[in-house]
Symmetry: C2
Subunit: 233 residues, 2 copies
């Protein structure tokens, strides 16, 4: 049986066999939820950048710019980091340069993997289906918050461990922990996350609607994949 | 209210305010459980070493040597890493140089903290009592396994978050996660840990008795504390 492991923070990535794994990058609130949403609404490609200035330099260069720093839209960017900004027809066929506090850094740290896939509750079942068809061990890389583990990405990792249990066994304690937290949380994730630090941070920015949306499973079937530094379907 | 945080792996220590914190180092299986047991049975002091050769160099130098690598006693050492080795009268008044795969490294990474305390289920209530009397924020540093988070240290961290909830609030998601896992586990920790990787590793070494002992709360009142690189009471 294949294995599934969970890297709870990009700062622990050195402990994992990146090059032998299919990596699922997850930043539930909100980078990978936005990316999933954008592809479901027809975006052509998204190029992730860990650094703000490199992202900004793409503006006009055939790319629209998008993302956030510390939860807030960046001045001069075309789009922010709310999934609701990526639901319009105007997104169709666009190429977007994207940077966020944590999510795009997690993608950068995953370079060299067999595959790099974008995960969110929004595409959970489609992603599961894709992962069952490939031969690699799975590594979920949680974006976390500036290196510190967070509850929402861990819950997603646990959901994926649970979904894949017939084909992939937890390879150490992190996937077990994630799975057990998910089982505890799954019937009411919004409530379960109320005390979490990032939800409290976002609540201060008034984006309850985003939180509920990002915790909705299986709204889309898009599974974005990184190829030559660019996410496409 | 003071805060309590949990560093799930020594590889994440750079994210935490070590110098402003009272740090509790925990390596349930088995370093900090051994240390607690040794002090409860009259050891005079324990000097922790992250490196094996430095520990070995103390032999004859007024110190007995103790510890393990990868769960096994080191050749030439006086004591191994089972708490049952530290229960005899022969331990009384001894000074011990101690090194383990993870626990003593976690102590080394905690250097500079306001206080460095040794935590285990064996001294949980005594430790809680001590922590309520000091003014500092609390940081639990889990020894983990070669950098990877583990379930047993996380459960102990959760137990401490739960015990201290009247005086210290979780400062981010790691203490919340630990607390929720502990609540799920507390009624039968031995069972809860059966699938954990370190318990499976130790079970192969035939030390079920150690595991059950190390998960027993409040057997001792000793709270070892690091002063000038040496643990004493």
């Amino acid at each position: 049986m294949r294995s599934i492991d969970v890297c709870l923070s990009p700062d622990l990535i050195h402990l994992y066999p990146v090059q032998e794994s299919a990596i699922v990058v997850v930043d539930i609130l909100r980078a990978t939820s936005c990316m999933t949403t954008a592809f479901a609404h027809g975006v052509e490609s998204i190029r992730p950048f860990a650094k703000l200035d490199e992202c900004l330099a793409m503006k006009g260069n055939g790319y629209f710019t998008a993302g956030e720093r510390d939860g807030k839209k960046v001045e001069g960017f075309d789009f922010g980091n709310s999934p609701f900004e990526y639901m319009h027809d105007s997104i169709k066929g666009k190429r977007i340069a994207f940077t966020t506090t944590n999510g795009t850094l997690a993608i950068a740290r995953s370079e060299g993997a067999k595959q790099i896939l974008i995960g969110s509750f929004l595409n959970l079942s489609a992603l599961t289906e894709h992962l069952t068809t490939i031969p690699h061990n799975v590594l979920v890389v949680c974006a976390a918050w500036k290196g510190k583990v967070n509850l929402e990405d861990t819950l997603f990792a646990g959901a994926l461990v649970e979904k894949l249990k017939a084909v992939a066994a937890p390879s150490c304690d992190a996937p077990l922990m994630a799975q057990r937290l998910y089982r505890q949380a799954k019937d009411n994730m919004v409530d379960y996350l109320k005390e979490s630090s990032h939800v409290k941070r976002l609540a201060r920015l008034n984006i309850h609607k985003d939180i509920e949306f990002c915790l909705t499973p299986d709204r889309y079937t898009a599974v974005p994949k990184l190829m030559d530094r660019e996410l496409t379907l």
